[in-house]
């Protein structure tokens, strides 16, 4: 069942429901066999974008190209796209086998072929013993597998997944996460994946499209999003715990940084990831003095919750052996390369450091 993936290109995609503009023009591209994730907070328009690509809803503007062909006006059933829905959308009155083979039956695939395909996919997804059950008799993880099997059996070159793991518990989630990734790589299917979970997006994707309020905030590889957040929103959304953003007043900057920033230095926001901060601050380019308000022990690291001079709170992820004590006044520091500078006014990254 080796199927080769399709390429997908979305240009200036817009969608309005009545007067409210839900998507204000988004662009992204995927190579055949790629894994692209639409990431963003709930309500930012991820599902809407996916439904436009699938053809279930009509676009208000922009175009969708699959393998270079404009399919913007092509009906959903002729786009050759598979979709895994958020709550699986299994037909409750059909058995697992009937659910999986439904599409083949609708498209009048001959019965022997249908049964062979069903058998192959059932084995691939280890669903063999469950084929005669109804969806209600399956656990969440098993239902998820059936939903995946239903998409795989049709050998679609492009598969869309809308938060497929959000109803599963943490352990199953990591398990199926790697299964989906493996299917993407071994079968060569192009996957567009939707999630609001940044760690899921970072761990699975080739490309992440970070969305915010109906527009694209940043497009890049997971590493680019983590290392070089383009905006304050990006910086705050990626990473657990997210990046700290401090005002200039709370930080002592290396010489020349403030001066080289053309505008009022008070407009600067200094970003630093909790895991890039050092304590003690010895030899760091940037430093901030603060007070420890609480300590969260997390096994390999401890999260120190800190309060700056001006009362802003931030977090340091501490991996050293020596833990400072509560309420202690300390100085933390970080290097030039760990510092991210943003403009408070525009929310954009400025003065790319290093």
């Amino acid at each position: 069942m080796k199927s080769t993936g399709a390429s997908l290109s979305v240009k200036g995609l817009k969608k309005s429901w009545g007067p409210t503009e839900v998507l204000t023009g988004i662009d992204f591209d995927i190579e055949p066999g790629g894994f692209l994730t639409l990431l963003g907070p709930s309500g930012c328009g991820k599902s809407t974008a996916l439904r436009l690509v699938s053809g279930l809803d009509e676009v208000s503007g922009g175009s969708i190209l699959i393998d270079g062909k404009d399919v913007t006006k092509v009906p959903a059933d002729q786009r050759n796209i598979g979709m895994v829905f958020q709550n699986y959308a299994l037909f409750p009155h059909m058995t697992v086998a009937e659910n999986i083979a439904y599409g083949l039956k609708v498209r009048k695939v001959a019965k022997p072929v249908r049964e062979a395909s069903l058998e192959r996919v059932a084995e691939l997804m280890s669903l063999g013993p469950l084929l005669d059950r109804k969806p209600a008799q399956l656990s969440g993880g098993q239902q998820q597998r059936v939903a995946l099997a239903r998409v795989l059996v049709s050998e679609r070159p492009l598969v869309l997944m809308d938060e497929p793991l959000s109803n599963l518990d943490a352990k199953l989630r990591t398990e199926i996460r790697s299964e989906i990734k493996a299917l993407n790589k071994s079968l060569g299917i192009t996957v567009v994946y939707v999630t609001h979970d940044q760690s899921e997006a970072l761990s699975m994707s080739d490309t992440v499209v970070l969305m915010n309020a109906g527009r694209v905030e940043q497009v890049g590889t997971p590493k680019e999003l983590y290392d070089v957040p383009a905006t304050v929103f990006s910086a705050r959304f990626i990473g657990t715990p997210p990046m700290n953003l401090l005002a200039v007043a709370d930080v002592s900057l290396p010489d020349g940084v403030a001066a080289s920033y053309g505008n009022d230095p008070a407009d600067l926001l200094i970003g630093v990831r909790p895991e890039s901060m050092q304590f003690p601050a010895g030899g760091a380019d940037y430093s901030a003095s603060c007070r420890i308000t609480s300590i969260e022990y997390e096994g390999s690291v401890s999260l120190l919750h800190l309060t700056s001079k001006s009362g802003a709170s931030f977090i340091l992820s501490h991996s050293g052996d020596t833990l400072p004590s509560l309420e202690e006044k300390i100085t933390v520091g970080w290097t030039q390369s760990a510092a991210h500078l943003f403009s408070k006014r525009t929310g954009e990254r400025v003065l790319t450091s290093s």
């Binding site: 699938s54 279930l56 959903a76 059933d77 796209i81 598979g82 979709m83 829905f85 958020q86 709550n87 959308a89 037909f91 409750p92 009155h93 439904y102 599409g103 609708v106 498209r107 109804k134 209600a136 239903r150 049709s154």
Partner: protein, 291 residues
């Protein structure tokens, strides 16, 4: 805190509904059963126990045989018609067409009208020559038909009246069921290449099945329960062709004043309905649920 009812209050609250049930349901039913084993009293002699004489009469009643056939045709005809019409109306009202609120109201209107009023409306509709039905036939160049006056059309005419009256209510149930069908199930089927008709048959209809069974049960009950239109429009005629079981009971008991035979027919009807109820419960329990 003590939330338990005092014994006295509990007894009172049990006795009131129970006595209502006994007075208006159980006692008359048992009385009918007893009456069916006695013959009629007259001014000259009192009622006397007659064993199964009434039931023997029932077995030999040719008119009853005809009426049972009528009732069966009537029930079997109105159920699918009511289901089909109410699903059709629900789909129409649930669509994105303009004016669905007005449609909803007009489809539901017949349900709110009393059966007698409905019967009057349809008397005009069926009136030979001047009625709307005749005028429609005329448009197509066909001769006017006296729908209520012919043995081959009277029963069917009654069926249409009943379906017209009850379909509006059933539409409401189907509308609620349609709106609870998850959109993503329809979307999933659509993406698999199913046409709108196919989506309806493969996905929507099976999910409407509990509603369909509910509607079928109610249509069946109505088929035995509603006879006002027969009384007003045809009085069971011509030649018994539109007479139904309940109408026959009414006629025997209150026109012919044959209380003993009326009671016997009532026992027959209660027995039939009980049997149907058992069958329906069995079907409902087996077929209505997926979860």
């Amino acid at each position: 805190m003590n939330n338990r009812l005092s014994i006295r209050l509990a007894v009172i609250m049990l006795v009131i509904p129970c006595s209502l049930l006994v007075a208006f349901t159980h006692y008359p039913a048992i009385q009918a059963l007893i009456n069916s084993f006695w013959n009629n009293s007259s001014s000259r002699r009192p009622s006397r126990f007659s064993g199964i004489e009434n039931y023997q009469a029932l077995m030999e009643d040719d008119r009853l045989a005809q009426i049972l056939i009528n009732s069966t045709i009537y029930a079997l005809g109105t159920i699918p018609l009511a289901i089909g019409l109410s699903i059709g109306m629900a789909l129409l009202v649930n669509s994105r067409l303009p004016g669905t609120t007005l449609m909803r109201l007009s489809f539901f209107m017949p349900t709110m009208l009393p059966m007698i009023a409905v019967a009057n409306i349809w008397l005009f509709f069926y009136a030979p020559g001047i009625g709307l039905a005749s005028q429609i036939l005329e448009v197509f160049g066909m001769p006017s038909i006296n729908f209520l006056g012919r043995t081959d059309t009277a029963l069917a005419s009654m069926m249409f009246v009943a379906v017209w009256k009850e379909a509006g209510l059933f539409m409401i149930f189907y509308l609620a069921a349609l709106q609870s069908v998850p959109t993503n199930l329809k979307d999933a089927a659509k993406l698999e290449g199913a046409s709108a008709l196919r989506v309806f048959w493969d996905v929507v209809m099976p999910l409407l099945r509990p509603t369909t069974i509910f509607v079928a049960v109610n249509a069946l009950i109505n088929a035995f329960r509603l006879v006002d239109h027969v009384i007003v429009m045809t009085e069971g005629g011509p030649n018994n062709s539109s007479a139904l079981l309940l109408y026959y009971i009414y006629e025997v008991t209150f026109r012919q004043r044959d209380f003993a035979y009326g009671a016997t027919l009532t026992v027959l009807m209660v027995g039939l309905l009980g049997l149907l109820a058992i069958v329906q419960y069995w079907v409902l329990n087996r077929k209505a649920h997926y979860q």
